[in-house]
Amino acid sequence: MRHKTFLWFILPSLAAMILFIALPLVSVVVQSMHIEHEQVLVVTENCGPFGCTQESSVDTEATAKLRAEQPLGRFAGLATYFDRGHLASAEIAEAWANRESLGDFFAELYNLPFYKALAFTLTYTFVVTPMVIVLGLLIALGVNRLTPALKGPTIFVSLLPMIITPLIGSLILFWMIDAQGVIGKSLQWIFDDPELSLKASPPLTWITLIVYGIWSGAPFAFVVFYAGLQTVNSDSLEAAMIDGATKWQQIRYVVIPHLMPLAVFISLMQLMDNFRVFEPVVGFSAQANAPSLSYIIFADMRSDITRFNSAAATSVLTVIGVTILLAPVLVRTWRDFKGKAV
């Protein structure tokens, strides 16, 4: 395809992405490298319904003047990236210098908000993604054997976890897993422990979130795999059977290789989405035990004073993290692409 034709075809899509993603992305990167102006503080008397107090206030005029001179704020380079709320280089160096043992060092590391969130986010991503792929494949294989009349309804029901908006889905599940709720009570009965609470301990919260992640992610993998199964070449299956392959061997040597490209596609999407896990953390009120990187961004953005620069830095770190995670898949795609190229 000629360059010019290509440009015309891609133009609408490209324009939308440049305007609404690329330009904001540039602005986010720029802002993450700035911090706000020095605020000129004065002490004023503030009065209200409950009496008067002497409190600090911002001298609006003086600050406005500083702001007019440099609208973006003060340039800070990568300072925000390395402060305590993000990569915390100084704190890590100190913890390493003062460590009593390796465990002690990791405890110090875990005390820093970014690393605490990273620990959960990575665990979540690396447990949920493979589980989703395996579960999705098993469901697809199972549904594929059903009689045609049952297939339709089963597909719809299988899609339900993906369809219900996570905001409400996790809210309802949160009530069900309450110590008094239907799932919580059942678990207490199963484990014979009347004090069992999924919300109180960090490990149980992690498990709950991970189970929810698998539950809500499986339908996507299922739909894609199920479609892939429809194209498995029946000749090769027949041939394998004639060679005396067992059912398991057929799946292992014929079906799975056929589905491999799909698994790559699913893992690409799942890695990315799981690394940005957010709604379940809020829905399950899990921010104490299992904050994620996206939750940190949310907390900066929605606190009493919006910290956009800090949120921007965490966002850029998230994008870098996703890119690192996807690198192996990307390299593979590049080879495929070169292989196909004319």
Partner: protein, 411 residues
């Protein structure tokens, strides 16, 4: 106040607004209101809409996330909203960025009916008009306390003792709860407790943090002994969860927002036994202090700086109509109104008692929000028992300092 009643009232107001003359004394201007979304503010917005008519338009956007919109919406010129309903915490960035205008001239012209204590002044200039108050205070179940043989607690030390007595009597496993969800709620609990102990969050006249001290440790230890009386899920408790537990009869003492009083005292969701024995009392004092360990909040309206004087005047008049005596009377139970003509009810007893006890208002300091977020994020480990109080407070200060540097309050 049921939603049904409110929306009927709203419908009536709209009807009157469209047919009646512009009865508020303004003849031109565009009024647009941004605010939080709950019954009292809905009532005020509907009241303001009665001023719509020839030449005057009134529209509102009530959104729970109004705080995320307000800065950008008022920074634009002309501002998207001419007036914003705000609180003592939410107003701080608006003042800091110079996005709201002083109201002195408008008050001189139209504000004859505003009582002096409604005016929010900063450095002598009126920046907002408050119309309702809120505070966290104690909700107690008198029947349970009686069975356990204890009085209604007036100090936090009594609250812990009463909870122990209730547990000892085998009445309840976890008799106490407060809004201790990690994040804003937990930060607010520490703020209350620290104020109750007489603490100052910052070194005077500076933005330097001042919580890692004996007072801070005492406040944290009190919080911990309270959460030990609470369900182990306490780090997930927001107001909704505490209210639900209360209505299910799982609690005997709760420290909860006064605005929840109406919902708890109505017949919905709970049994007669629970409702009839629920009493709303002042927030307790702590550590021998004389003022309750809580903080007072107001909701009020401010007028945007980046709108024409005509729109500003129309907005001011319309909002005054929203908090008029008639409108307040019609919505008496929706809030603890600071407006004359308000009749205190059983649901407002706790807030009024807390306010008359000399409780401090939530600090209107530009960097308080950063401290609040740091507190909300860094205290959970201590309450879970995996960190010392000193370490938790050191973490709070470190988190605050890095945020304050980024925002330019510290160098």
């Amino acid at each position: 106040m049921s939603m049904m009643k409110l929306s009927m009232l709203g419908a009536a107001a709209v009807f009157m607004g469209t047919t009646a003359y512009a009865g508020c004394g303004v003849t031109s201007g565009n009024v647009s209101i941004l605010g939080n979304d709950f019954a009292a503010i809905q009532a005020v917005a509907e009241g303001a809409k009665q001023c719509a008519g020839d030449g005057v338009t009134v529209e509102s956007n009530l959104n729970k996330d109004y705080r995320d919109l307000q800065i950008a919406a008022l920074t634009a010129n002309p501002a998207q909203y001419s007036t914003v309903v705000t609180t003592n915490a939410a107003i701080v960035p608006l003042i800091g960025e110079g996005l709201i205008r002083p109201l002195d001239d408008l008050i001189a012209k139209h504000g004859q009916n505003i009582s002096k204590n409604q005016l929010i002044t900063v450095d002598g200039k009126v920046m907002a008009v408050a119309f309702m108050a809120n505070a966290q205070h104690l909700f107690v179940r008198t029947d349970i306390l009686e069975k356990a043989g204890v009085e209604v607690p007036t100090t936090y030390e009594d609250v812990v003792a009463a909870s122990e007595a209730i547990k000892a009597a085998g009445l309840m496993e976890h008799p106490f709860a407060t809004t201790s969800q990690t994040g804003w709620n937990l930060g607010e609990e520490f703020v209350n407790m620290y104020l109750g102990f007489g603490g100052e969050f910052f070194k005077p006249g500076t933005a330097e943090p001042n919580v890692n001290n004996e007072t801070g440790v005492a406040a944290l230890n009190m919080l911990k002994s309270l959460t030990e009386q609470s369900n182990p899920d306490f780090l997930t408790f927001d107001s909704n969860a505490v209210q639900a537990s209360w209505e299910a009869g799982d609690l005997a003492i709760a420290h909860l927002w006064g605005s929840r009083g109406t919902g708890i005292l109505d017949a919905e969701g709970s049994t007669d036994e629970i409702v009839s024995n629920t009493v709303l009392v002042s927030s307790p004092t702590v550590g021998g202090g004389s003022t309750p360990a809580s903080s007072l909040w107001w909701d009020g309206f401010a007028i945007a700086a980046n709108v024409s004087d005509e729109d500003a005047e129309a907005s001011f008049v319309a909002m005054l109509n929203g908090i008029s005596q008639e409108n307040v009377k019609a919505n008496n139970d929706a809030a603890v109104w600071l407006v004359e003509g308000y009749q205190p009810s059983a649901a407002s007893a706790g807030v009024l008692a807390t306010a008359t006890g000399g409780t401090k208002p939530y600090p209107m300091i530009p960097f308080m929000g950063l401290m609040h977020s740091a507190l909300g994020a860094e205290l959970s480990e201590f309450l879970q028992g995996s960190e010392s109080a000193e370490q938790a407070l050191a973490d709070v200060e470190a988190a605050y300092v890095s945020a304050a540097k980024e925002k330019g309050f510290l160098q």
